[in-house]
Protein backbone atom coordinates (compact mmCIF):
# COMPACT_ATOMS: atom_id res chain seq x y z
CA UNK A 1 0.00 0.00 0.00
CA UNK A 2 1.19 3.51 -0.79
CA UNK A 3 2.16 5.94 1.91
CA UNK A 4 -0.88 8.13 2.62
CA UNK A 5 -0.52 11.68 1.34
CA UNK A 6 -1.00 14.42 3.93
CA UNK A 7 -3.18 17.40 3.20
CA UNK A 8 -2.39 20.79 4.74
CA UNK A 9 -5.05 23.41 4.34
CA UNK A 10 -3.71 26.96 4.71
CA UNK A 11 -6.05 29.92 4.56
CA UNK A 12 -6.99 33.36 5.73
CA UNK A 13 -9.10 33.84 8.87
CA UNK A 14 -11.11 30.76 9.80
CA UNK A 15 -11.33 29.45 6.26
CA UNK A 16 -9.19 26.35 6.85
CA UNK A 17 -11.03 25.38 10.04
CA UNK A 18 -14.37 26.01 8.36
CA UNK A 19 -13.54 23.95 5.28
CA UNK A 20 -12.30 21.11 7.43
CA UNK A 21 -15.58 21.27 9.38
CA UNK A 22 -17.43 20.97 6.08
CA UNK A 23 -15.30 17.97 5.01
CA UNK A 24 -15.94 16.29 8.38
CA UNK A 25 -19.65 17.01 8.11
CA UNK A 26 -19.79 15.20 4.78
CA UNK A 27 -17.31 12.37 5.28
CA UNK A 28 -17.46 11.95 9.05
CA UNK A 29 -13.69 12.24 9.32
CA UNK A 30 -11.00 14.89 9.73
CA UNK A 31 -8.22 12.45 9.06
CA UNK A 32 -5.47 13.41 6.66
CA UNK A 33 -6.15 17.16 6.66
CA UNK A 34 -4.58 19.72 8.98
CA UNK A 35 -5.91 23.30 9.04
CA UNK A 36 -3.57 26.30 9.38
CA UNK A 37 -4.43 29.99 9.58
CA UNK A 38 -1.91 32.72 8.86
CA UNK A 39 -2.89 35.15 11.63
CA UNK A 40 -0.04 37.11 13.25
CA UNK A 41 2.65 34.98 11.60
CA UNK A 42 5.62 36.30 9.69
CA UNK A 43 6.08 34.67 6.26
CA UNK A 44 9.09 32.77 7.65
CA UNK A 45 7.11 31.43 10.63
CA UNK A 46 4.23 30.35 8.40
CA UNK A 47 6.59 28.56 6.03
CA UNK A 48 8.34 26.78 8.92
CA UNK A 49 5.02 25.74 10.45
CA UNK A 50 3.73 24.26 7.19
CA UNK A 51 7.10 22.55 6.65
CA UNK A 52 6.90 20.93 10.09
CA UNK A 53 3.44 19.59 9.26
CA UNK A 54 4.49 18.29 5.86
CA UNK A 55 7.49 16.43 7.30
CA UNK A 56 9.31 14.19 4.85
CA UNK A 57 6.22 12.52 3.54
CA UNK A 58 4.27 13.33 0.39
CA UNK A 59 1.94 16.28 0.99
CA UNK A 60 -0.49 18.50 -0.81
CA UNK A 61 -0.69 22.07 0.48
CA UNK A 62 -4.08 23.56 -0.33
CA UNK A 63 -4.30 27.36 -0.18
CA UNK A 64 -7.11 29.82 -0.76
CA UNK A 65 -5.78 32.86 -2.60
CA UNK A 66 -3.13 32.68 -5.38
CA UNK A 67 -1.78 36.13 -4.45
CA UNK A 68 -1.93 35.54 -0.69
CA UNK A 69 0.80 35.04 1.90
CA UNK A 70 -0.29 31.41 2.34
CA UNK A 71 0.30 30.70 -1.35
CA UNK A 72 3.72 32.37 -1.38
CA UNK A 73 4.81 30.43 1.71
CA UNK A 74 3.66 27.17 0.11
CA UNK A 75 5.39 27.89 -3.20
CA UNK A 76 8.65 28.71 -1.44
CA UNK A 77 8.41 25.44 0.43
CA UNK A 78 7.76 23.53 -2.78
CA UNK A 79 11.04 24.86 -4.19
CA UNK A 80 12.87 22.88 -1.48
CA UNK A 81 10.65 19.80 -1.27
CA UNK A 82 9.93 17.78 -4.41
CA UNK A 83 7.33 15.70 -2.57
CA UNK A 84 5.08 18.68 -1.91
CA UNK A 85 2.38 19.80 -4.34
CA UNK A 86 0.64 23.18 -4.03
CA UNK A 87 -2.95 23.83 -5.09
CA UNK A 88 -4.34 27.38 -5.06
CA UNK A 89 -8.04 28.24 -5.05
CA UNK A 90 -9.11 25.34 -2.84
CA UNK A 91 -12.79 24.44 -2.77
CA UNK A 92 -14.89 21.72 -1.21
CA UNK A 93 -15.22 19.34 -4.20
CA UNK A 94 -11.44 19.42 -4.56
CA UNK A 95 -10.85 18.62 -0.88
CA UNK A 96 -13.38 15.80 -0.90
CA UNK A 97 -11.73 14.26 -3.96
CA UNK A 98 -8.40 14.45 -2.12
CA UNK A 99 -9.54 12.82 1.13
CA UNK A 100 -11.02 9.87 -0.78
CA UNK A 101 -7.83 9.26 -2.77
CA UNK A 102 -5.03 9.85 -0.25
CA UNK A 103 -3.63 6.37 -0.75
CA UNK A 104 -2.76 7.03 -4.40
CA UNK A 105 0.77 8.11 -5.32
CA UNK A 106 1.25 11.89 -5.13
CA UNK A 107 1.62 12.16 -8.92
CA UNK A 108 -1.79 10.53 -9.47
CA UNK A 109 -3.42 12.72 -6.85
CA UNK A 110 -1.98 15.80 -8.54
CA UNK A 111 -3.43 14.62 -11.87
CA UNK A 112 -6.84 14.12 -10.24
CA UNK A 113 -6.71 17.61 -8.71
CA UNK A 114 -5.59 19.09 -12.01
CA UNK A 115 -8.72 17.67 -13.63
CA UNK A 116 -10.80 19.96 -11.37
CA UNK A 117 -9.47 23.08 -13.08
CA UNK A 118 -12.41 24.69 -14.82
CA UNK A 119 -14.79 21.97 -13.58
CA UNK A 120 -15.59 22.34 -9.90
CA UNK A 121 -16.85 25.88 -10.22
CA UNK A 122 -20.11 26.20 -12.14
CA UNK A 123 -21.92 29.30 -13.19
CA UNK A 124 -25.68 29.19 -13.40
CA UNK A 125 -27.71 32.04 -14.85
CA UNK A 126 -31.47 32.50 -14.44
CA UNK A 127 -31.86 31.51 -18.06
CA UNK A 128 -30.17 28.17 -17.34
CA UNK A 129 -32.60 27.33 -14.58
CA UNK A 130 -34.78 24.35 -15.35
CA UNK A 131 -36.87 24.57 -12.19
CA UNK A 132 -40.53 24.32 -13.32
CA UNK A 133 -42.70 27.32 -12.68
CA UNK A 134 -39.86 29.82 -12.74
Amino acid sequence: MNEEVRGILVGHGKLADGMLDAVAGITGSREGLTPVDNASMTPEALEEHVESLAGDGPSVVFVDLPSGSCAFAARRLKCRHPRIAVVCGVNLPLLLDFVFHRTLPLEEIVERLRSHVGVSIEYTTDADSSVPGR
Binding site: S40, T42, A45, L65, S67, S69, F72, R75, R76, C79
Partner: protein, 163 residues
Protein backbone atom coordinates in the same frame (compact mmCIF):
# COMPACT_ATOMS: atom_id res chain seq x y z
CA UNK B 1 3.62 57.34 -11.24
CA UNK B 2 1.15 58.26 -8.53
CA UNK B 3 2.21 56.33 -5.41
CA UNK B 4 -1.14 55.30 -3.99
CA UNK B 5 0.26 53.22 -1.15
CA UNK B 6 3.71 53.14 0.39
CA UNK B 7 3.60 50.27 2.83
CA UNK B 8 5.76 48.44 5.35
CA UNK B 9 4.57 44.83 5.37
CA UNK B 10 6.73 41.79 6.11
CA UNK B 11 4.44 39.67 3.93
CA UNK B 12 5.26 41.97 0.97
CA UNK B 13 2.93 40.98 -1.89
CA UNK B 14 -0.13 39.29 -0.39
CA UNK B 15 -3.92 39.28 -0.22
CA UNK B 16 -4.47 42.51 1.74
CA UNK B 17 -2.19 44.39 -0.64
CA UNK B 18 -3.27 42.96 -3.99
CA UNK B 19 -6.96 42.37 -3.30
CA UNK B 20 -7.74 44.63 -0.31
CA UNK B 21 -5.91 47.82 -1.27
CA UNK B 22 -5.49 46.96 -4.95
CA UNK B 23 -9.21 46.64 -5.61
CA UNK B 24 -9.95 49.84 -3.67
CA UNK B 25 -7.29 52.10 -5.16
CA UNK B 26 -6.58 50.49 -8.53
CA UNK B 27 -3.19 48.94 -9.09
CA UNK B 28 -0.94 48.65 -12.15
CA UNK B 29 2.51 48.26 -10.65
CA UNK B 30 4.04 47.10 -7.38
CA UNK B 31 7.60 48.11 -6.56
CA UNK B 32 8.96 45.81 -3.87
CA UNK B 33 12.05 47.61 -2.59
CA UNK B 34 14.30 45.05 -0.99
CA UNK B 35 18.06 44.54 -1.24
CA UNK B 36 17.83 40.77 -0.79
CA UNK B 37 14.96 40.15 -3.24
CA UNK B 38 16.54 42.37 -5.88
CA UNK B 39 19.27 39.74 -6.28
CA UNK B 40 17.02 36.67 -6.24
CA UNK B 41 15.38 35.96 -9.58
CA UNK B 42 13.64 32.77 -8.48
CA UNK B 43 11.91 34.57 -5.62
CA UNK B 44 10.87 37.38 -7.94
CA UNK B 45 9.38 34.79 -10.34
CA UNK B 46 7.57 33.21 -7.42
CA UNK B 47 5.92 36.51 -6.48
CA UNK B 48 5.08 37.35 -10.10
CA UNK B 49 3.40 33.96 -10.51
CA UNK B 50 0.87 34.90 -7.84
CA UNK B 51 -0.07 38.29 -9.28
CA UNK B 52 -3.00 39.06 -11.56
CA UNK B 53 -1.83 39.34 -15.21
CA UNK B 54 -2.52 43.08 -15.37
CA UNK B 55 -0.25 43.92 -12.41
CA UNK B 56 3.45 44.42 -13.05
CA UNK B 57 6.06 43.92 -10.33
CA UNK B 58 9.53 45.47 -9.94
CA UNK B 59 12.06 44.38 -7.35
CA UNK B 60 14.70 47.12 -7.03
CA UNK B 61 17.27 47.42 -4.27
CA UNK B 62 17.17 50.61 -2.19
CA UNK B 63 19.94 52.01 -4.39
CA UNK B 64 18.04 50.99 -7.54
CA UNK B 65 14.82 52.51 -6.23
CA UNK B 66 16.55 55.84 -5.57
CA UNK B 67 17.39 55.96 -9.28
CA UNK B 68 13.92 54.83 -10.39
CA UNK B 69 11.67 56.95 -8.16
CA UNK B 70 12.34 60.34 -9.85
CA UNK B 71 11.32 58.80 -13.20
CA UNK B 72 8.02 57.59 -11.80
CA UNK B 73 6.68 61.15 -11.74
CA UNK B 74 6.12 60.98 -15.50
CA UNK B 75 4.61 57.48 -15.45
CA UNK B 76 0.81 57.21 -15.43
CA UNK B 77 0.74 53.75 -13.82
CA UNK B 78 -0.96 53.47 -10.44
CA UNK B 79 1.75 52.22 -8.15
CA UNK B 80 2.32 50.72 -4.72
CA UNK B 81 5.66 50.69 -2.92
CA UNK B 82 6.31 47.82 -0.54
CA UNK B 83 9.14 47.20 1.92
CA UNK B 84 9.46 44.44 4.48
CA UNK B 85 10.84 46.65 7.26
CA UNK B 86 10.90 50.21 8.56
CA UNK B 87 14.66 50.54 8.02
CA UNK B 88 14.17 50.33 4.23
CA UNK B 89 11.67 53.21 4.32
CA UNK B 90 14.00 55.20 6.58
CA UNK B 91 16.87 54.74 4.10
CA UNK B 92 14.62 55.96 1.26
CA UNK B 93 13.46 58.91 3.36
CA UNK B 94 17.00 59.96 4.26
CA UNK B 95 17.69 60.32 0.54
CA UNK B 96 14.58 62.45 0.05
CA UNK B 97 12.75 59.77 -1.95
CA UNK B 98 9.59 59.86 0.17
CA UNK B 99 8.80 63.57 -0.06
CA UNK B 100 5.01 64.05 0.22
CA UNK B 101 4.49 60.30 0.56
CA UNK B 102 2.90 58.91 3.72
CA UNK B 103 4.23 55.60 4.98
CA UNK B 104 1.58 53.03 5.85
CA UNK B 105 2.41 50.39 8.47
CA UNK B 106 0.42 47.39 7.30
CA UNK B 107 2.05 44.32 8.78
CA UNK B 108 4.96 43.55 11.09
CA UNK B 109 4.17 40.22 12.63
CA UNK B 110 5.11 38.34 15.76
CA UNK B 111 8.81 37.53 16.09
CA UNK B 112 11.32 37.13 18.95
CA UNK B 113 11.96 40.51 20.60
CA UNK B 114 8.79 42.04 19.26
CA UNK B 115 5.71 42.97 21.30
CA UNK B 116 2.17 43.24 20.07
CA UNK B 117 0.81 46.75 19.55
CA UNK B 118 -2.04 45.93 17.19
CA UNK B 119 -3.17 42.54 15.81
CA UNK B 120 -1.07 43.20 12.70
CA UNK B 121 1.78 45.22 14.27
CA UNK B 122 4.45 43.90 16.63
CA UNK B 123 7.32 46.27 17.46
CA UNK B 124 10.82 45.66 18.75
CA UNK B 125 12.83 48.44 20.39
CA UNK B 126 14.70 48.82 17.11
CA UNK B 127 11.40 49.14 15.17
CA UNK B 128 10.39 51.97 17.51
CA UNK B 129 13.77 53.66 17.07
CA UNK B 130 13.42 53.40 13.27
CA UNK B 131 9.93 54.94 13.45
CA UNK B 132 11.30 57.90 15.40
CA UNK B 133 14.06 58.28 12.79
CA UNK B 134 11.41 58.28 10.03
CA UNK B 135 9.52 60.99 11.88
CA UNK B 136 12.68 63.05 12.26
CA UNK B 137 13.23 62.70 8.50
CA UNK B 138 9.89 64.49 8.08
CA UNK B 139 7.82 61.51 6.94
CA UNK B 140 4.19 61.08 7.94
CA UNK B 141 3.56 57.57 9.23
CA UNK B 142 0.33 55.82 10.11
CA UNK B 143 -0.96 52.30 10.71
CA UNK B 144 -3.85 50.75 8.80
CA UNK B 145 -4.01 47.13 7.65
CA UNK B 146 -7.01 47.31 5.31
CA UNK B 147 -8.85 50.25 3.69
CA UNK B 148 -11.88 49.99 5.97
CA UNK B 149 -9.81 50.02 9.20
CA UNK B 150 -9.16 53.14 11.29
CA UNK B 151 -5.99 54.97 10.34
CA UNK B 152 -3.83 55.43 13.44
CA UNK B 153 -1.22 58.19 13.45
CA UNK B 154 2.35 57.57 14.59
CA UNK B 155 2.15 59.52 17.87
CA UNK B 156 -0.90 57.57 19.01
CA UNK B 157 0.72 54.34 17.86
CA UNK B 158 3.92 54.92 19.84
CA UNK B 159 1.89 55.65 22.95
CA UNK B 160 -0.10 52.44 22.69
CA UNK B 161 0.71 49.92 25.38
CA UNK B 162 2.54 46.90 24.03
CA UNK B 163 1.64 43.50 25.40
Amino acid sequence: MPILLCRVDDRLIHGQVVVGWGAQLGLDLIAVIDDELSGSEWEQDLYRAGLPDEVEALFPSVEGALELIPGWASNAARGFILARDIATMRRLAEHGALADIEVNLGGLHSAPGRQRVLPYLFFSDEDRAELRRLKRAGVNVSAQDVPSARRIGLDELLEMKAG
